[in-house]
Symmetry: C2
Amino acid sequence: MRVVDLIRRKRDSGELTRDEIEELIAAYTRGDIPDYQMSAWLMAVVLRGMRPPEIAALTEAMLNSGTVLDFSGMPGRKVGKHSTGGVGDKPSLVIAPIVAAGGVKVPMISGRGLGHTGGTLDKLEAIPGFNVNLSLADFQRVLETCGCAMIGQTAEIAPADKKIYALRDVTGTVESPALICASIMSKKLAEGIDALVLDVKTGSGAFMKNIEDAANLAELLVETGKRKGKNVVALLTDMNQPLGRKVGNSMEVAESIEILIGAGPADLRELCLELAAWMFFLGERVKTVEEGKILAADLITSGHALEKFREIVDLQGGDVRVLDDPRRLGHARQTLGVTSPTEGFITGTQCEQLGVACVVLGGGREKKDDKIDPTVGIDFHKRIGDAVERGEPLCTLHYNAATRLDEARRLVETAYRIEPEKPQTIPPLIHRVIGA
Amino acid sequence: MRVVDLIRRKRDSGELTRDEIEELIAAYTRGDIPDYQMSAWLMAVVLRGMRPPEIAALTEAMLNSGTVLDFSGMPGRKVGKHSTGGVGDKPSLVIAPIVAAGGVKVPMISGRGLGHTGGTLDKLEAIPGFNVNLSLADFQRVLETCGCAMIGQTAEIAPADKKIYALRDVTGTVESPALICASIMSKKLAEGIDALVLDVKTGSGAFMKNIEDAANLAELLVETGKRKGKNVVALLTDMNQPLGRKVGNSMEVAESIEILIGAGPADLRELCLELAAWMFFLGERVKTVEEGKILAADLITSGHALEKFREIVDLQGGDVRVLDDPRRLGHARQTLGVTSPTEGFITGTQCEQLGVACVVLGGGREKKDDKIDPTVGIDFHKRIGDAVERGEPLCTLHYNAATRLDEARRLVETAYRIEPEKPQTIPPLIHRVIGA
């Protein structure tokens, strides 16, 4: 195999065989193919695309570059969950304990914040002591003990993805449905799951702004999972405004606890119940998704979900007292209200900008090694469709350092579209379900 | 400037500014941009293209990465010549002495064989002692002394091109008119020339198989040269069969000497006269191209062209006795005739395959460090339109090692298209002239 021939073939819209893709990924992971050839091939993939069999082969090659967990010896169904990322996107923290409390196992390998979006690992680490860096043996032990464990990608899981992702990030080759699909599914299929529920976000705060692009990605993900014998559905959900009311790591943990005690904002609760219901359904715990939703709501009302979260936090070394007193999560020292410059109705938001504002306050990373301040964030008071008066607060910034406060405020101020007429339609929480 | 933003912009079909291109090339040449980012950008350029102002900026950035020769203090016009490469493509060896003998200076920076094509430097080195590695000071001295000097790209000339070319070669990013144009013109514009005649080949033995692709490249080259204030024309010439009768370095030198003594095959002589005529015309030595052609023919008849070649060879350290006795160039030990499997007319050749056959015999390189055997080659007895009997020799292979003889023979045997009817049209030597 001459790598340059594979690059040229993809450049000319040709197809690679399964063997060629396997050899390419294996040789790159071993260090036998230089980065400059891989990046040229990745750019050709971005611009020429890949056909489903190629995507399946790429996913498997990346999956098989590392350890593939096998929990088939452990009783019960194991169901995974993955979101493509958004602003205020915290359902994992809520769903994992609900579903585990209902008797379906949830082995969860999560990611960190990426660009303007938050990451489950960063949120969990806002809980003092919470350790997301368990060994795979400890991951299995916690999963066996309480039905759920939440960790980051270890060196053993899909090392090819880790290496390729780092290269894509600096070579403008992130935005490819084929590469996104292979990256997500190679990690998810390594989790030792029987089924998977995907939350594919679309809208101004998602990576896929356009609903058709998101639907295409969702279909690719579902098809790739099904080819590997997994039961997979994807919910195409709205990300045209932040999910829930809070963005920022500690603030999002607090809001997740609110949902687990039966309170919290309606949109977040609704999406959590839907996602949990699908996990119960694919986990064969219930006969219908409706039944799953009722089960999820019951597990909140009974307090079992919150108790399960307490168990997880405890087993992973976190301070369980934050569940009873979220103030223990800490808070930023200063706040600043951002008010509406005009009266009217909120008809839309530049949601990505709102996510960037939180990063600018210190709640996310601009460079790989940036340290996150878990206590900063934004509290949103208005949603699309709401009326606002001139001078009425749209949201409150929570910050510690004033260094980049102006920049964050400007980002937030210019992110709202306010018009005289009430919008005729408000984006639905869930656009459609793919793969059901 | 974030490199990844430039990569993304080109990926999304956007345009780069002159400043951005300058900074990109300068930083890459300095080593401040890694190969993996450059190769991703190059692939995006291959697939998205560049607009003429971008190509001009890229050419200038590469040109200005090194020394730009200035011979304006030297009396007389300086005219360059460049061919995009073909099989048996030897006119440079013939034209340079003709034009210099006519009083127009020819500073020539040439290349080596690439893929299935030969290179002027490799041919010159078939002359014992001929040194193509002159310093720029010696290049100037030889040019001043005899009106022509022929060398390879030095470290000082367009180092950006050297570095980018090496990367393109291994990342499948050679085939881009924009990149080819910038690579050629950055070297040619460094030669200190007033004008340039381009021989853009098209056909089965050229890099541009398709005449429209070749015409587009020719137009780009002409436009890019004119933007820099040079007088440039491009002759779009046929490469559907080898030029002349001989392919292989020593054999091509011998055939070039034949032309200089007034003999040799008609097609090669005709193209040499045409190219020389255009160089005389752009060099303001004659009023019309026709006049230039007569002058070129006269310089052959009078023996001045051959004498000029003797001077050049002598000044560059070569053995001038080969001009009087080409057997001193050496010859391969063995020959093998390849005969026609059928009777009919030659209606076409897979000319690239004929070039590869010569490489396989040892006359070219498959890897960068391969050593060339200058004595091997192929002597062609038939041209498109010729009648052949079954068993009649089509060509003769000249070889030293039998190791890959079968492979070469098969390549040659299958390269001829022989049909019962005489072809109605024979490809013209020159398809058109662009930029005149």
